[in-house]
């Protein structure tokens, strides 16, 4: 029976981020959520299991407080979860995340058919983890996927690109990175959430991973973006139009 691996990230829910009067981001009372497109990955894995049989393993790399995220993932149809947890995993860059995911999948999942990732995370949106993961595992990767089907021994996917839609196939095992259009993630019911707590979770500490590097990614500062708005009204007679052109020049819009 096929084994589907859905990778997800537990990220700050942007709805809770506040901006301080000094223009900085206040993260002191934020909530967390499963990264938006990773919900699509979990949903697609659950749907594949529902149509093709098999099982879904949800895999995440995160801080030890992300246990709620693990339950959330398990309430969305995954059968078990593997959770690499360490306080330092909150600030990993894409290569670090992909390295850990690759090791976890290689050593703890073993045999798998399809790995599903969101196209990018809701916080950093590097769009690198899925592709790096495929490279580290030495298997094909299909990105920008908006539709996918499993056929005998291969995955057939529609990629939405800037200039059109490309239909490609890859032999299994493979990695796919998904666009949000691929499905509408379910809202777990009460029983789904309650049963999630009874599903198996394997937690792996940093010391159990053969990790090479110290974090290479450091946050130096975090500040809110600002959008300056100004409103000035002009009439339509000649003098006003001259003033209008002058104002545009002054702001460097016209040269």
């Amino acid at each position: 029976m096929p084994v589907f691996v859905a990778c997800f990230k537990w990220v700050v829910d942007e709805a809770y981020i506040r901006r301080t009067s000094a223009g900085e981001l206040d993260l002191s009372s934020v909530g967390y959520k499963i990264s938006d497109y990773d919900r699509n990955a979990l949903e697609e894995a659950a749907r594949l299991k529902e149509s093709a049989g098999g099982s879904v393993v949800a895999v995440t790399v995160g801080i030890p407080e992300a246990t709620k995220g693990v339950k959330d993932a398990l309430s969305r149809g995954a059968d078990q979860a593997i959770y690499a947890a360490d306080p330092s995993f909150g600030t990993l860059e894409a290569s670090g995340t992909a390295t850990i995911l690759a090791e976890v999948i290689r050593t703890r999942v073993g045999t798998y058919d399809l790995i599903l990732c969101g196209e990018g995370s809701s916080d950093l949106y590097d769009q690198q983890v899925g592709i790096r993961l495929a490279a580290l595992l030495g298997i094909p990767c299909i990105s920008f996927v908006q539709k996918l089907d499993l056929e005998a021994g291969r995955v057939v996917a529609e990629r939405r690109l800037e200039d059109g839609i490309e239909r490609v196939a890859a032999t299994l095992p493979a990695v796919v990175t998904l666009l949000p259009d691929i499905n509408v993630p379910r809202i777990p019911g009460v029983k789904d959430t309650l049963s999630a707590s009874r599903k198996p979770v394997v937690t792996i500490g940093r010391e159990e991973l053969g990790l090479p590097a110290e974090p290479r990614f450091r946050i130096l500062s975090l500040s809110a973006s600002r959008l300056e708005r100004q409103c000035e009204r002009f009439g339509s007679d000649e003098a006003d139009l001259r003033r209008f052109a002058g104002a545009l020049r002054q702001k460097g819009i016209l040269r």
């Binding site: 709620k68 959330d72 809202i187 777990p188 019911g189 009460v190 959430t193 309650l194 999630a196 707590s197």
Partner: protein, 379 residues
């Protein structure tokens, strides 16, 4: 004491909020305007196991605790008070009464479809001449062979026109006083039971309310709920559970009033600054947020006592009294903050203010809550 929800409760709350934003918010104004029962919404609620949360799984429920049910009523009411209330009375009173007092057979027949959300429950107690004064009821149930024959008229029955399973209270022995009232489970379609026209109400408009007329309505003795003569005690137990739900409904209304007031207060500019920067408005918002927190903690505390199997009657009344009066007081303020725009149809605060009023009236008026509370305190 750590004032924290469990991870499961937090996730369930997040999920019902997402559900409410996706399925309830878009229709809330329409079902209010048209006084329409959204059957399609209740089918979706049933699919997500939201219609029987504290009922054991073997009887069709989700098998979670009462606090979880309370959180769900709150979040639904934040989007639509009628929807939150319909879930509240269905689960908190109708399902709970059968769960607490029903026989195994009654649970299999009536509770399972109710807790799955396939059948909607109703609580049929109030009469035209018997509101807070329950003992003034006149509906009778007379034993006749293997049946009881029920005659009388009930009113203000929530889910009356749309219900499937009715918990009906009638005198089996009027002379026995407080030990003379009994309760019956009567399924929709029973000959002699008829729901009247849906009342055209000020608020809570999509919740369907009607008279229920019983004319020689024959009910098998097997449908007697609990012991004969125990009806009043069961009704009071039902109210204890239901009042936690009404408190949660009021908290949901109050949260929505705060959400709207904060949003509008930051947007609306007068005298060159957003009105939320004017002390007159910011203090209203401070009072609203403070009463919301107090109402919420009273409500959760009552639900937690229920889950701990401790007495919670007084606490349920306190939560309901405080939350309902706070909801009324602050929805009026929320309309004030919105000014003329808040007085017009289309502003959510206008609906919130109309919906808030009923929380001070049904499942025991604020005056009745004060009777319960003082009775407990002065005992």
């Amino acid at each position: 004491m750590d004032f924290r929800l469990t991870e499961e409760q937090e996730l369930i709350r997040k999920n019902i909020r997402e559900f409410a934003e996706k399925y309830v918010d878009p229709i809330a104004a329409e079902i209010d305007e048209n006084s329409r029962h959204p059957a399609e919404l209740f089918q979706k609620l049933a699919e997500g196991d939201w219609m029987g949360i504290p009922i054991p799984q073997e009887y069709g429920g989700a098998g979670a605790d009462y606090l979880t049910h309370t959180l769900v009523v709150e979040e639904l009411s934040r989007s639509c008070s009628s929807t939150g209330f319909t879930v509240s009375i269905h689960v908190g009173i109708a399902c709970m009464l059968v769960n607490l007092f029903g026989t195994e057979e009654q649970k299999k027949t009536f509770l399972v479809p109710m807790a799955r959300g396939e059948h909607l429950g109703a609580f049929v107690l109030t009469e035209p001449g018997a509101g807070t004064d329950v003992m003034a009821a006149t509906t009778t149930a007379v034993a006749d062979g293997n049946d009881f024959v029920i005659n009388g008229t009930k009113t203000f029955t929530s889910n009356g026109p749309t219900g499937d399973t009715y918990m009906v209270f009638a005198w089996t022995d009027k002379a026995a006083g407080r030990k003379g009232l009994s309760a019956f489970i009567i399924p929709r379609g029973t000959v002699g039971m008829k729901a009247g026209e849906h009342f055209n109400k000020m608020g809570l408009r999509s919740s369907q309310t009607s008279e229920m007329v019983f004319k020689d309505c024959r009910v098998p003795k097997a449908n007697l709920l609990g012991k004969e003569g125990n009806g009043l005690a069961m009704a009071m137990t039902g109210f204890d559970h239901g009042r936690v739900g009404i408190a949660a409904q009021s908290v949901g209304i109050l949260q929505a009033a705060l959400d709207e007031s904060v949003r509008y207060g930051k947007e609306r500019v007068q005298f060159g600054t957003p009105i939320a920067r004017h002390q007159a408005i910011s203090w209203m918002i401070a009072d609203m947020a403070t009463d919301l927190a107090a109402a919420r903690y009273l409500t959760y505390a009552a639900a937690c006592l229920k889950d701990l199997k401790q007495p919670f009657s007084k606490e349920a009344s306190m939560a309901k009294l405080f939350a309902a009066e706070a909801a009324m007081k602050h929805t009026i303020k929320a309309v004030q903050i919105h000014g003329g725009y808040g007085y017009c149809k289309g502003a959510k605060v206008e609906r919130l203010m109309r919906d808030a009023k009923i929380t001070e009236i049904y499942e025991g008026t604020s005056e009745a809550q004060r009777m319960v509370i003082s009775g407990n305190v002065l005992r």
